[in-house]
């Protein structure tokens, strides 16, 4: 009984802390490079609680339209780190860059918790438009959880996540920008730096952003980072 109660409290606490930066991830461009191999690591850190979520993955451009990437996902919550889930992410480039008024792609993700029968699917469009030296990118993803072990008391319908980025093409090695991330509970906005070839390391790309919560449900400050090596 005590164990069940403790689990319930822990679950609620975990849910609350996880929700704080649930919407912050990355803003996807809609482009695919055939034959490209990508090693990627990224993380999202709640700077108030110290909790974080991190992903490491390897991806491959199967065709000029389809890029697939596999991830392992770890989380630190309430002082404990655990590799919690695996994910397959598919990115589809639907139009050639510059062909139409805006460039369009699509993202299809499937994530499964390693220890529980909890699945999470995400699907939605990726849009990018260049305005001179500025590039605007928007992602709109629809997410649904399913499986035998999902929380029956939660709203398990489709949820919506939105993200947007406006960056300035300052130079090949550094592009400043601003980002917004939101889901149905959290909203965060803040600056981001996007870079390439740090310290002369070719084929390395990086991103770092600091997001500020816009409501009580969102962490006051969230750090996100990303490191990619492409070959």
């Amino acid at each position: 009984m005590w164990k069940h109660s403790f689990s319930g409290v822990a679950a609620v606490t975990t849910l609350a802390s996880a929700t704080a930066f649930a919407g912050v991830d990355k803003v996807y461009d809609p482009y695919v490079e055939k034959g490209e191999v990508e090693l990627e690591a990224r993380g999202v850190h709640d700077l108030d609680s110290g909790d974080y979520k991190t992903k490491v993955g390897i991806g491959y451009g199967v065709t000029s339209r389809w890029f697939v990437e596999g991830y392992l996902i770890g989380k630190r919550e309430n002082g404990h780190f655990k590799v919690e889930a695996g994910e397959i992410e598919n990115k589809f480039q639907l139009t050639e860059q510059g062909q139409y008024w805006a460039d369009l792609g699509a993202l299809v993700e499937l994530e499964r918790e390693l220890d529980h029968d909890v699945w999470e699917a995400k699907v939605g469009p990726l849009v990018q438009k260049q305005f001179g030296d500025f590039v605007a990118t928007g992602n709109l993803l629809f997410e649904k959880k399913f499986g035998d072990d999902i929380d029956d008391h939660a709203d398990n319908g489709w949820e919506t996540l939105g993200s947007a980025q406006m960056k300035y093409r300052l130079s090949e090695n550094l592009e400043p920008g601003i980002e917004y991330y939101g889901d149905e509970e959290t909203h965060a906005v803040g600056p981001v730096l996007i870079g390439a070839n740090p310290f002369g390391m070719e084929r390395v790309k990086w991103e770092a952003g600091l997001l500020f919560g816009l409501n009580d449900a969102t962490a006051d400050s969230t750090l996100r980072w990303q490191l990619e090596y492409e070959f």
């Binding site: 050639e96 709109l140 629809f142």
Partner: protein, 109 residues
């Protein structure tokens, strides 16, 4: 609350841009790890379609920060790269896999 109809709204918005005039095609070859021609002249202020034919057996990556384009072209294959509309000027590009020899530029005038 945003739902599935939002995706259709975006698709509809994008489709508006599909009604466009005929786009001029400009041929560009990659042979012996060099672009031929190395200078491609296009009209300023117009979108053009670069038809890049990689005649080498090995892949090449067309890359240009100035043109904001990056595309891998497998060996003995063709790829389309849309460029512009550009302001008058020169825009360098290069082959990522053979940078010593594969250099070129788009001249918009």
């Amino acid at each position: 609350m945003l739902r599935i109809p939002s995706a259709f709204a975006i698709a509809t918005l994008l489709s508006v841009g599909t009604a466009q005039a005929e786009i001029q095609t400009v041929d560009l070859a990659i042979k012996d790890h060099r672009f031929q021609p190395e200078a491609v002249t296009i009209p300023a202020g117009e979108k053009i379609k670069l038809m890049v034919h990689n005649q080498d057996a090995t892949p090449e990556e067309f890359e240009s920060y100035e043109l904001n384009r990056e595309k891998i072209i497998p060996g003995n294959s063709k790829a389309v790269i849309f460029v512009g509309p550009l302001a008058p000027g020169e825009y360098p590009f290069f082959g990522e896999f053979n940078q010593d020899t594969a250099q070129g530029r788009v001249i918009a005038e």
